[in-house]
């Protein structure tokens, strides 16, 4: 065998082995098969790698070319191996992902969404508006003394203004001494007795009256009361506070007005109305300057302190916001009602 023949034979053999290796790795169908075949194709014991040992036995001048040819063959196999590996990995990923395919519109179970009652939500909105205006939130009992509900608020016994309230009394203490509060105003009295001015509070809560339930009446309803007592508080301050609240709660474009009215515990007294952007009016509630006798009863000197108070219904605001037209719906607890807010 001549040296030339040996070198060319080696190169030819390398090409043949490379072709075999490429065929083998192409034949592998899975990543596992391919990686298992790697030692036989590219490992130390692989036939193609084994040819390296025979390069040394070639004529020295033939060695570089033969070595190059061998390296090229190996590189070719390695590259084809990597390519095939990528291909198989991609195919496997595709298979895997396809097998995991889901219809995301298939929702057999719908976990419930909890909600707050529309009255709680409305009350919170109102509280938040007033808190941002620097008011704190006060609370008082729903079963009240006759004195806190009427007496301290300048309704002497037999006063005709008591007729404006259809009061429900409860059997506790002497007859007529204890009642279901008809308004949140007794909280004013409790706040003034408990704290010293300056006072900036709102008092939301439940009130009661002797009423037959219908679309616009319930024997129990919700009110929010505001009270400010400080030095130099004026009717202009009341109008300004109402206006600030109106814009903050209802939004820009809503304005307010005060109209003279009568409540025994405020003087001057005023109704306050809100004007919608379309020009229509909404009668919202009552207000006024805290009556000097009420301040006095609560231990505040009316010559030093003055204040204003206002109150309005929460239920109606909730009804207006959501176009609820029957007050009784608020109290049915039908899940078809509760789940809408």
């Amino acid at each position: 065998m001549t040296a030339e023949e040996t070198a060319s034979a080696l190169v030819a053999e390398a090409r043949g082995l490379a072709t075999d290796a490429v065929a083998a790795l192409t034949a592998a169908d899975t990543v596992a098969e391919l990686t298992a075949a790697r030692p036989d194709l590219l490992g130390k014991g692989a036939p193609l790698t084994g040819l390296r040992r025979r390069v040394g036995s070639l004529a020295p001048e033939d060695r570089p070319a033969a070595g190059r040819a061998l390296s090229e063959a190996l590189a070719e196999v390695a590259a084809r191996y990597e390519a095939r590996l990528d291909e198989l990995r991609a195919a496997e990923r595709r298979r895997q992902l396809e097998a995991e395919r889901l219809d995301l519109t298939e929702l057999p179970e719908r976990p419930p969404v909890g909600r707050l009652h529309v009255i709680s939500q409305t009350q919170r909105r109102l509280e938040d508006v007033f808190c941002a205006m620097g008011y704190t939130v006060a609370e008082g009992p729903e079963i009240e003394t006759e004195w806190h509900n009427f007496g301290a608020l300048n309704f002497p016994p037999g006063h005709p203004a008591r007729d404006m309230y259809d009061t429900l009394y409860v059997d506790h203490g002497p007859p007529g001494s204890t009642l279901l509060r008809t308004h949140t105003s007794p909280v004013q009295v409790r706040v003034m007795q408990r704290q010293s001015p300056p006072l900036y509070v709102v008092a939301p809560g439940r009130c009661y009256r002797q009423d037959t339930a219908d679309a616009t009446h319930m024997p129990v309803f919700h009110q929010i009361e505001g009270l400010v007592v400080d030095e130099g508080i004026t009717l202009g301050d009341l109008a300004g506070a109402i206006e600030t609240f109106t814009t903050a709660y209802f939004g820009p474009g809503f304005t307010s007005r005060l109209r003279p009215s009568y409540f025994p515990f405020t003087e001057p007294s005023a109704e306050f109305d809100v004007q919608r952007p379309d020009g229509t009016w909404l009668e919202l509630g009552g207000s006024g300057m805290v009556h000097p006798s009420v301040l006095e009863v609560c231990g505040l000197d009316p010559e030093r302190w003055s204040g204003f108070a206002f109150g309005f219904g929460i239920d109606r605001l909730a009804m207006l916001r959501y176009s609820i037209d029957d007050l009784r719906d608020l109290w049915t607890n039908d899940s078809r009602f509760l789940e809408q807010f």
């Binding site: 709680s120 409860v170 009215s261 003087e267």
Partner: protein, 794 residues
């Protein structure tokens, strides 16, 4: 209070658009509830006479009416009202008329009978609110005449005003006109009635006496002769009708007219039926009787005001209703017309008790002008004179106690300080004088006033029609009212405090939010209970009772949120909405000896379709969300709860609540077919004492070790007891522990036992725990659990 613009104009020259007048009235505190402008002509609606009434052959609720509209034809009209009689004049909407509501009147058949037009109620004509019956017109109208023209209200405006209790003066046309004139800077005048007197002075035949001066401020009488057969003047009848008052007879109509005009009610006696012309006023004795005008025999209470005759026999109830024995008739020749001032409180009490409230009693209750009676009596006579009625000379009057009318000291500086205005004294004067207040500079500056204001000090005289005005603040309100609240500059007072919620209020909000986050929806049951509701819940029936409920369902205040939420569960289940998860935060009341019943803020949750563990899990989750700590869940049967699936929440010896499952007998009593897991607790106390303020613990950087321990535990030993023992034994190195497996297998574990397996994660903050340390903790845990009654499973 209804007023007609044409009537107001008799006292002040009020002009301009009705809308602008309404705006002024509202701004004066006389809120306009509604306003109606009468059409110049009521096209097609004419005056007709009822010529015949016949039953409908095939309908009970309709009758056939033959009407005569003056054109020679009798028309048959079907009508659903029955309040008219043959001869009555009624409004007829002829065929082709378009009604105010847009309905076109056509020829119709009703149950087989033809109907040519419609006879109308006041409401259908938008001339009043009375929709009950057909509007009966004054008898002197001409048949076939256009209705608005016939009534003399063409183009007139009717304002319906809401008058506040402190404005008795505004319960009259005169009072409203006075306010409106003052606001508009117009002259206002109450003209003296123009009426002459004839015959013998009244004092010769009439005597009056007040025996109860605290009841009756004055009792004033005029004598009118030649009253028989007098008819109500047409204008008066029309106006009364437009204001929704049906004309009745001459005397009643005039009395009503004067009352509406000036606010003074009056009462007429047939002088021939009053023995000796003597009228007295006293308080009734208990059980005295009087037959009132409506024919009812009324039994009086001691203290009720009565009018008596010379024999001391009651012939009327003061300020409330006259008596039958002296009633006016067509034949009454001589009338004793009485106008009095009654103590408002007395009238309020008597009219309320007898259920007799009238336009007159309402005015006496509010407080009538004590000086207007002579004017009102003469005005009556003036209006009656064209009918031939003659007024006798002399006002016969007796006096009792009238409320004092002290002058009111007013500081002009105080007026501005309360209103937030900078009005000059002259501007204030311009507000007060036109409505009758008199101003004089106070002679001595009020040395007693603790605070002086810049400006003047006045002694203000209050007009007789404003008895409500007694103090400085009342006068300040009048200045503000006449100046207009809308003209007062708005300022916003600045709170020196930061606003916000208390920690308890924030806590309550967080609880609500947490529960909503867990999928529960907030419900709002009524706070009232019906008798038997608490018993149905297995709870003691000790709710506070409402003294005067309208219905029995609202007669008891709740002591627990349970009946309300169970009703809500039942309501939904009955509408094929089972499995609702509801909660409520609300007040409950317990009876007690305090000044007020004990009131507490409670929380309850009902999980329909769930068993007891769902409630326990909910509570555990809520505790974690809120940081509630130190509350023991102790298995214990409680009232109304499933006896073997109930636990109490205990802290420091106090029971804060219950959880578990509602007793099946209770759910059955509420017609609930599902099981209901239940949680209820005193939220107020919980929030006060049990919120753990979180303090940050840095997570350990060192590796952790888990140990799993399975024990056989007798059923009577609560898992919580074993868990607490494990927690204590593991000590500081315990990161967390979880009960991860529970099973029961009598064959392997024996009856009455179960296997409970916990995983404990151990981790030290400052080092890696050694195997030896972990082993020691494990041994300590096993020992502690065994002391607690658990046996390690092999």
């Amino acid at each position: 209070m209804k007023v007609l613009l044409s009537w107001l104009r008799e006292f002040a020259p009020i002009e301009g658009a009705p809308e602008a007048i309404a705006e002024d009235l509202s701004d004066l505190g006389l809120a306009v509830e509604s306003m109606a402008t009468f059409a110049a002509v009521s096209d097609g609606i004419v005056v007709a006479r009822v010529a015949g009434l016949r039953p409908h052959p095939d309908a009970d609720r309709i009758q056939l009416v033959d009407v005569d509209a003056g054109d020679g034809d009798l028309r048959q009209v079907c009508c659903g009202a029955f309040n008219m009689a043959v001869g009555d004049l009624v409004p007829l909407a002829t065929v082709g008329t378009t009604m105010p509501n847009g309905l076109e009147i056509g020829r119709r058949r009703m149950r087989g009978q033809h109907s040519e037009g419609m006879i109308c109620s006041a409401a259908e004509l938008e001339m009043g609110t009375d929709a009950e019956g057909i509007m009966i017109l004054p008898g002197d109208l001409e048949l076939g005449e256009d209705l608005t023209a016939a009534l003399g209200v063409a183009g007139d405006v009717l304002f319906d005003l809401e008058v506040n209790p402190n404005r008795p003066d505004a319960l009259s046309v005169v009072g409203v006109a006075r306010d409106l004139a003052a606001r508009r800077g117009l002259p206002f005048e109450l003209p003296e009635p123009q009426v002459g007197t004839v015959g013998a002075p009244a004092g010769e035949s009439v005597r009056v006496e007040i025996l109860a001066p605290d009841l009756c401020g004055h009792f004033s009488v005029r004598l009118l002769r030649n009253a028989a057969g007098a008819r109500t003047p047409p204008l008066i009848g029309r106006r009364l009708l437009a204001l929704g008052m049906r004309p009745i007879n001459f005397v009643v109509d005039l009395s009503n007219y004067v009352m509406l005009e000036v606010g003074q009610p009056s009462h007429a006696f047939d002088a021939d039926l009053v023995p000796g012309g003597a009228l007295g006023v006293r308080r009734a004795a208990e059980g005295e009787q009087v037959e009132t005008l409506d024919g009812a025999a009324r039994t009086l209470h001691a203290g009720d005001g009565v009018i008596v005759d010379s024999a001391e026999v009651p012939i009327g109830i003061a300020g409330v209703m006259g008596g039958a024995s002296t009633e006016i008739s067509e034949a009454t020749e001589t009338v004793l017309l009485e106008a009095a001032w009654w103590n408002p409180t007395d009238i309020a009490r008597t009219s309320r008790r007898l259920g007799l409230r009238s336009e007159a009693s309402a005015r006496f209750e509010a407080g009538v002008d004590p000086e207007i009676a002579p004017w009102a009596l003469e005005r009556f006579a003036e209006l009656a004179a064209p009918g031939g009625v003659a007024l006798a000379p002399e006002l016969v009057q007796a006096h009792g106690h009238l409320p004092p009318r002290p002058t009111v000291r007013v500081r002009t500086g105080r007026v501005n300080a309360i209103l937030g205005t900078c009005l000059t004294a002259a501007e204030m004067l311009a507000c007060l004088e036109p409505i009758g207040f008199g101003i004089a500079a106070a002679e001595v500056p009020p040395a007693a006033a603790p605070r002086s204001y810049p400006g003047e000090v006045w002694d203000v005289t209050v007009p007789s029609w404003r008895l409500d005005t007694a103090t400085e603040i009342d006068v300040i309100e009048e200045v503000g009212r006449l100046w207009s609240y809308s003209r007062i500059a708005r300022t916003v007072p600045k709170s020196p405090h930061p606003g916000g919620l208390t920690s308890r209020q924030r806590g309550r909000r967080r609880v609500q939010e947490a529960l909503a986050g867990f999928g529960l929806t907030e419900a709002m049951p009524l706070p009232f209970l019906a008798p038997g509701d608490l018993e149905r819940c297995g709870l003691p029936p000790d709710g506070i009772t409402v003294t005067n409920p309208l219905v029995a369902e609202e007669s008891i205040m709740r002591t627990s949120l349970r009946p309300g939420l169970l009703k809500a569960v039942a309501y939904n289940a009955a509408r094929r909405q089972p499995g609702v998860a509801l909660f409520e935060v609300g007040h409950v009341h317990a009876s007690g000896d305090g000044e007020l019943p004990a009131e507490s803020d409670c929380l309850a949750a009902a999980l329909a379709g769930c068993e007891a563990p769902a409630a326990a899990a909910l509570w555990e989750r809520l505790c974690r969300a809120m940081g509630f700590a130190g509350i023991e869940v102790r298995n214990e049967a409680t009232a109304g709860m499933h006896p073997t699936r109930s636990a109490v929440l205990v802290s420091g010896g106090q029971t804060l609540g219950v959880l578990g499952e509602i007793d099946p007998a209770v759910t059955a009593a509420f017609d609930i077919a599902e099981r209901v897991a239940w949680l209820e607790c005193d939220l107020g106390r919980l929030l006060e004492a049990h919120i753990d303020s979180p303090r940050y613990r840095q997570p350990s950087r060192f590796p952790s070790s888990d140990i799993d321990l399975a024990f056989v535990v007798g059923e009577p030993v609560p898992a919580a007891t074993v868990e607490a023992a494990l927690r204590r034994a593991a000590g500081e190195s315990l990161a967390w522990l979880r009960l991860f497996d529970v099973f029961r297998d009598p064959d392997r574990l024996g009856a009455g036992c179960r296997s409970l397996a916990w995983r404990l994660r151990l981790q030290a903050a400052d080092r890696t725990l050694t195997d030896a340390e972990v082993g020691e903790i494990r041994a300590a845990c096993i020992a502690a659990a065994e002391v607690a009654g658990a046996a390690l499973r092999d």
